[in-house]
């Protein structure tokens, strides 16, 4: 009787539940779901930037696997007899020929190729903007420093994956890019020529770099990136998402909507939106028309040669650097090429190590889950803006020929502007950004104390015109005043209370100085106090 009813129960359970039971007995999915199915995700438009990266990465993997079915990573020389008539009878590598076949003979091949390339550009751009979002809101602070580094590594690896990827078709443009890389490698003191010979299997271009880049591009780098990506996402789940300050939002809670159903529908749907937009772009905008450039020959080149945008910064460094070369003891220091090669990782690294510098300066060891508004962290915001300024000055340098031809400027003048600008523009940007931040802080303070400007002008009986200010709601008052304003560090007195002289170390002095730069007088506008607010609102108001 009892066994019969038990089996009755089992029969009654729906099929889905029985599958779930089966899986739970082996994988423990119910405990996993208990913690995550209704996990809360805060909502803000900027949080979708990371999703753009994730989805474009998935799109790149999907389309990339398809492309490997048709691409031949070989540099064997062949003569073309395919359906693209302008290149009939032209000598080319098998890599180039198979790329032509993908573009002209495989139905939909061109579309997948273009989706792959567009998605790669969007992936890199998405990572850049996502990184800036995280930077300017202070989301990198404890406990998320490690995830910041994972994200940074993904960005750097993404650049190299992109570079090795667009070099594969062995066309005239990408071959020129590879030649540039070889020239840069040759500039490395002592080991440069050896690295070059080992990388290319002999002299440039040789017949090895396409198959070698292929395994780096489809296996080595994406494999590492996939691992980093999974780790990045696990940490996002584990740390829970940050949120902007506001009513009811605290450092100890996370306010938003549950994963199932809202976030799943929004985020899942967003994948299709991203994919759909990229597919439409690939339908209407040609990218990397390798057939127009032709196969690579080391003695040929086209004008206006430009790398993909994310390499433009490195391109700028190499273009504007003066051609310094020092010959001593029978050896050549190719500083004109080697210095840019060194500056490239240094500039990227500056943004990567920033979280650790900031936490050292501020001495702040607490967890932070509430985001900063950029204006409330003027020094950090100014540093980030200066970094972007340096980056974009170099992008201008990387496209100096296009600037010259499109705006009818002298290429020499542009190059000199970039040379000077690389040092000057970030400094000016730093100063300007900081002032703007402080100005915005003052405006927030005014808004809190005097209310919102309504734009309504009132004429008083004695003829005076005044503007009506509307007091803010408590929600707004709280949001505008909830940020922290730490005090700068002070040097400990040189003589302590026992009369023992204790000199502060140089690092300690530096730290105190930097701390003043962050939080000292003039570097943040004191928040309005309750007392100030009450003095102004009681009696002397404009209403």
């Amino acid at each position: 009787m009892s066994t019969a009813s038990a089996s009755d129960n089992r029969r009654k359970a729906p099929a889905g539940e029985r599958v779930a039971d089966w899986a739970d007995g082996r994988l423990g999915i119910y405990s996993l779901a208990k913690a995550n199915m209704r996990k809360i995700f805060p909502d803000h438009w900027s949080f979708m930037l990371g999703e753009v990266c994730l989805y474009s990465f998935v799109i790149i993997i999907l389309t990339g696997v398809y492309l490997t079915m048709f691409f031949h990573p070989s540099m064997n020389e062949v003569v073309y007899h395919g359906s693209y008539t302008p290149l009939q009878g032209v000598q080319m590598s098998e890599a180039f020929r198979s790329t032509l076949n993908i573009s002209f003979d495989v139905r939909g091949g061109l579309l997948i190729r273009q989706i792959h390339h567009w998605a790669a550009l969007i992936f890199l751009a998405g990572m850049f903007v996502h990184m800036m979002r995280v930077f300017f809101t202070g989301a990198f602070r404890k406990p998320r420093e490690v995830n910041w580094l994972f994200g940074f590594l993904l960005f750097v690896l993404g650049m190299f994956t992109g570079f090795t990827g667009y070099s594969l078709p062995d066309d005239l443009l990408s071959g020129t890019g590879v030649r540039f890389m070889e020239g840069a490698i040759l500039s490395v003191p002592i080991v440069g020529t050896y690295i070059s010979m080992f990388l290319f299997g002999g002299e440039f271009p040789g017949s090895d770099f396409v198959p070698r880049f292929f395994s780096i591009h489809v296996l080595l780098l994406p494999g590492i990136m996939l691992g980093l990506l999974v780790a990045h996402l696990i940490l996002v789940f584990y740390h829970k998402h940050t949120q902007f300050p506001g009513p009811g939002k605290k450092n100890e809670n996370v306010v938003g909507m549950p994963l199932l159903p809202v976030y799943m529908a929004k985020a899942g749907g967003f994948f299709f939106l991203v994919f759909g937009v990229i597919a439409a772009i690939a339908a209407i905008a040609t990218i990397n028309p390798i057939w127009a450039m032709g196969p690579y020959r080391p003695d040929q080149v086209s004008t206006g040669a430009q790398p993909d945008w994310y390499m433009g910064f490195a391109e700028g460094l190499i273009r504007v650097m003066p051609g310094w070369e020092i010959n001593v003891w029978g050896h050549t220091f190719v500083l004109g090429v080697f210095i840019p090669l060194v500056i490239f990782p240094l500039v990227l690294g500056a943004i990567a190590v920033y979280p650790f510098i900031e936490s050292w300066v501020t001495g702040d060891k607490r967890e932070h889950h509430l985001l900063d508004r950029p204006r409330n962290a003027p020094t950090r915001t100014a540093f980030g803006a200066a970094w972007i300024a340096a980056y974009f000055v170099m992008l201008v340098g990387g496209g100096n020929d296009l600037w010259a031809t499109h705006f009818h400027l002298s290429i020499n003048a542009i190059t000199w502007f970039v040379r000077v600008g690389f040092f000057v523009v970030p400094v000016l940007t730093f100063i300007a950004t900081k002032r703007i931040c402080l100005g915005l802080q003052r405006r927030d303070k005014d808004k809190v104390l005097h209310g919102r400007e309504t734009g309504i002008i009132k004429r008083l009986p004695h003829g005076e015109f005044i503007e009506v200010h509307e007091p803010l709601s408590q929600d707004q008052l709280h949001t505008l005043t909830s940020h922290e304003q730490p005090k700068p560090l002070e040097l400990e007195p040189e003589v302590d209370e026992n009369g023992v002289a204790r000199k502060a170390s140089a690092t300690q002095r530096l730290r105190v100085k930097l701390s003043k730069g962050y939080y000292g007088e003039g570097n943040q506008i004191p928040k309005p106090t309750v007392q100030e607010y009450e003095e102004i609102t009681s009696g002397h108001g404009h209403h």
Partner: protein, 350 residues
Amino acid sequence: MSSQDIPEETLPSAQGAHEGAVATAGDPFADPGLPPHEHRIQDIDEQAARRSERVVAMLFTLSMLATVGFIASYVTLPVDKNIYVFPIGHISALNFALGLTLGVALFCIGAGAVHWARTLMSDVEVADDRHPIEASPEVKAKVMDDFRQGAEESGLGRRKLIRNTMFGALALLPLSAVVLFRDLGPLPGTKLRKTAWSEGKMLINQNTMQPLRPEDVQVGSLTFAMPEGMKEEDHDFQQEIAKAALMIVRLRPENIKDKRSLDWSADGIVAYSKICTHVGCPISLYEQQTHHVLCPCHQSTFDLSDGGRVIFGPAGHALPQLRIKVNDKGYLEAMGDFSEPVGPAFWERG
């Protein structure tokens, strides 16, 4: 613990015991707690909700139609058909049709899901607690104890011989992997110093593939040449042309400012390496009035009337010149290889 079992009253707004709520009276900046949920039109008007439902269903239907369109385009459109689409221009019809139908099919699923989530799913914001990530002191103490015990049981600290030899073995092992990479390529040797040019090799015009005569080279034109005997089909053609590519211009002898350059010319014809000394792009832009050549990659500019000297840009040294003469048969020929390595500078260049 998941959020759905957090009752509303734990939210700060309703939490009577929460300090914020008490202080609100005295502190105008205090946290007022989560704002009350505002209903959307779909929450209160079933008609509006049904409208949203229809929009979502329409988007999903549109996606289905687009997928059918994708398959139809794939089957019916020839792969080599081009069409004119304003304002894009002439593009592949198949690519255009496949891309747009795929785009619509994907986008509509996304738009449908997002519209569904925004208008019909609950938009009540709830709060979930965060927990500090750092372990409690008890947990930490337990972990430390466990580790100490494990380390002690292994005897790693006590048996130094085991420890040292193990570290030695592990440190040496990766050397095998390093050694394995030796055969990635040959050693540089003098490869970067030599090109295919040698004494007596005629200059072959790259356009006509015929030997060049001095009278073929006019003032104001830039001619590209390669050494005789090189063929495009050769297995090492790419490596050789990467070094041997040559550009030739005719100058009036009185315009040649550099004396050595004049000595190495023939009838006012000077021959320079085409490979930029910066990072190796082929130089291909010639300014006939000034005899400047410009590399289109990084804009290094060289003066061919002055020994190939760098006058602008990132290149570090002059273009190597090839010494040429007119032979008995009236053809241009090389009098030897370049006297210095061509292309980008490197450590051993000296």
